[in-house]
Symmetry: C2
Subunit: 345 residues, 2 copies
DNA sequence: GGCATGAATGTGACCGGTCACACAAGCAGG
DNA sequence: CCTGCTTGTGTGACCGGTCACATTCATGCC
């Protein structure tokens, strides 16, 4: 007992039962709002609960009931805008369903490291959501043992290994197609592409959409420039592209890459959009405030996260039948960074 | 049994025991690497484990052992750079100690909402880390029931309610002081400040550091302009400041605010740093790639997160005595956005 | 040979809940 | 008055592990 007269260590339902002079089962009934408890008894029990500062152990509850009510999200990253927004969406939905959200970061794509992390997540007992936008995530999704409820957030459903599981996605191919069309329609002869790292060795969805638009327009198809996730990679790529006077339009795999590209163009003295147009991807919060403001493709990552959780939730509680594969539709937001090519007069 | 001959539902240690013809206790010993198990027995048990696809239930383990090995992080935000980096640091350290990391988002600072979220986190059983950079977080930290191991990531230790608990922090006051000194030493008459939302009603650490530097230099002390967390708030604040021709130096509470301010200055036709210098805070990844690149105060948020977990870890496993209050030292990174004021000749 | 010692293994209770079922009391209908 | 159903409550087993202790057997030492 401490100063206030409460026991300092957690009380169990049997302690409460003793204090209220009922059986532990009755306490359980009160906690769970079971109807057939006499009001006067309920009062006594509630008073005892208050008195002892009882809180039901989530662990014991999970063990006894079999229901775990938790999601573990496996992701390679939590600082980049897209990933973080997905997490936010999942958390929102999870909280609403009073689920707990845990996060496991896949630090490397190394086979044993991924396997270990997947094991840990699987052992936790709840459901899994795997963000498979990168090699580590893809491998993790494939490694999830059978029998564990899992939803993948994938780049391209059909091509992803382990794609037989429920998934959510945004139509990146279509989005890249639109963005490329936008630039071509402004009069650019072709569009260069700075790619984010792909989830698999096969052609990434964004790359595919970009290429399709070029092909359809009969435009030249330059080799995509490989970037990273952050602005540094964009900067490196941008320096190469800036040196090529023929380049007038650049599509970037995300807004951070676009930032790096813009910086490189600026240093090379090539005005945006006067000489070169730049289009980003994801419409991160800062895109609108850059100078020039960045044309980008808006993605509803938060909604994607919510959808992923919804799917998982349906999977776990058999009751709710699951709407199979929600798709969110990206939207092109045109700003200052894209315009017509310089007149070659 | 499924096609492969394995049971599809999880096997318990008693199942394994039966298969290996030993007692469940022996299985437990093998799992936990207890020394006194005959090698041949160990072999049999391991074979049975493999055969049945046994994985130890984290839930049951936690219940029986009393040790939970999990941290729940309560935070108002996960998308902003600082918060996300702290989370990353915590996750890193947690994973290394094979702890699980859960996240609870404090969506509003509303009293009952916060209380509910804190309850959920407390019920989970493990330790807690509360990021108390904002009113929601501060309230949450204060609401954590006694007896639950908790570490606060705070703005200013002494002033934070619930500050009797272990905490970590970075010296924001000192950092703001340095940044302001930098601008003053370039020759600016005074420095204006666009503030992030404060964690309490009392003067925020960054504001205090800025003010101290001004006072020390005998400079005028303009009212700080209240901002938000994102670039939109900076933009609004920036428009006001841009309209005032006397403004030549602006310190911003974070890099997103600085971005918005820079945009507003640009739109108002006031060159940076030619007419106005801008300094940010936190050194987010994009700061270096903006045009002009942004002078900012680098913060080791990841290290801060690791330290927070370290503290909590020591708290939970009594064994390790706890180094009380780690402090990380911010560092000013000077870039293009800050320079001497326009000559007033 | 007798006995303490340690290695290898098993038994029962317990962690804090839930679940299935039993049981007493109250009240209806035939 | 007896049967049958509902309401309110209690009992024992169980979820899947761990812990403390008991047991067996081989070995070392006097």
């Amino acid at each position: 007992m401490n100063v206030t007269g409460h026991t300092s260590r957690t009380a169990s339902i049997r302690d409460v039962a003793a204090a209220a002079d009922v059986s532990y089962q009755t306490v359980s009934r009160v906690i769970n709002g079971h109807p057939s408890v006499k009001p006067s008894t309920r009062e006594r029990v509630l008073a005892a609960i208050e008195e002892l500062g009882f809180r039901r152990s989530a662990t014991a509850h999970a063990l006894a009931s079999g229901r775990v009510r938790s999601v573990t999200v496996l992701t390679a990253n939590i600082t980049h805008h897209g990933y973080a927004s997905i997490l936010q969406g999942i958390e929102e939905a999870a909280r609403a369903a009073s689920y707990t959200m845990a996060i496991g970061v896949l630090e490397s794509a190394d086979e044993t490291a991924v396997r270990a992390e997947v094991q840990r997540a699987a052992d936790a007992g709840g459901g899994l959501i795997v963000i498979a936008y990168d090699p580590a995530g893809v491998r993790a999704l494939a490694d999830v043992p059978a029998g564990i409820p899992v939803v993948g957030v994938v780049e391209t459903p059909a091509r992803t290994p382990g794609g037989d599981r429920p998934w959510v996605w945004t139509d990146d191919r279509e989005a890249a197609y639109e963005a490329t069309r936008h630039l071509l329609s402004l009069g650019h002869e072709t569009v260069h592409y700075v790619a984010i790292p792909s989830s698999t060795r096969r052609t990434a969805a964004r790359t595919a959409g970009w290429r399709a638009a070029l092909r359809e327009a009969g435009a030249a198809e330059p080799r995509p420039v490989q970037g990273t996730w952050g602005p540094a990679g964009g900067y490196t790529a941008g320096r190469k592209l800036a040196a090529d006077a023929a380049v007038t339009a650049i599509l970037c795999g995300n807004d951070d890459l676009a930032l790096g590209v813009m910086r490189a163009l600026h240093e090379a003295g090539r005005p945006i959009p006067g000489e070169v147009s730049v289009v980003g991807f994801d419409d991160a919060p800062h895109a609108a405030y850059l100078t020039p403001s960045l044309t980008s493709v808006r993605q509803d990552f938060t909604g994607l996260g919510r959808a992923a959780f919804g799917l998982l939730h349906g999977l776990v509680e058999q009751s709710a039948p699951v709407a199979p594969h929600p798709v969110s539709v990206p939207e092109l937001v045109v700003r200052e960074s894209s315009g017509p090519p310089p007149s070659t007069a």
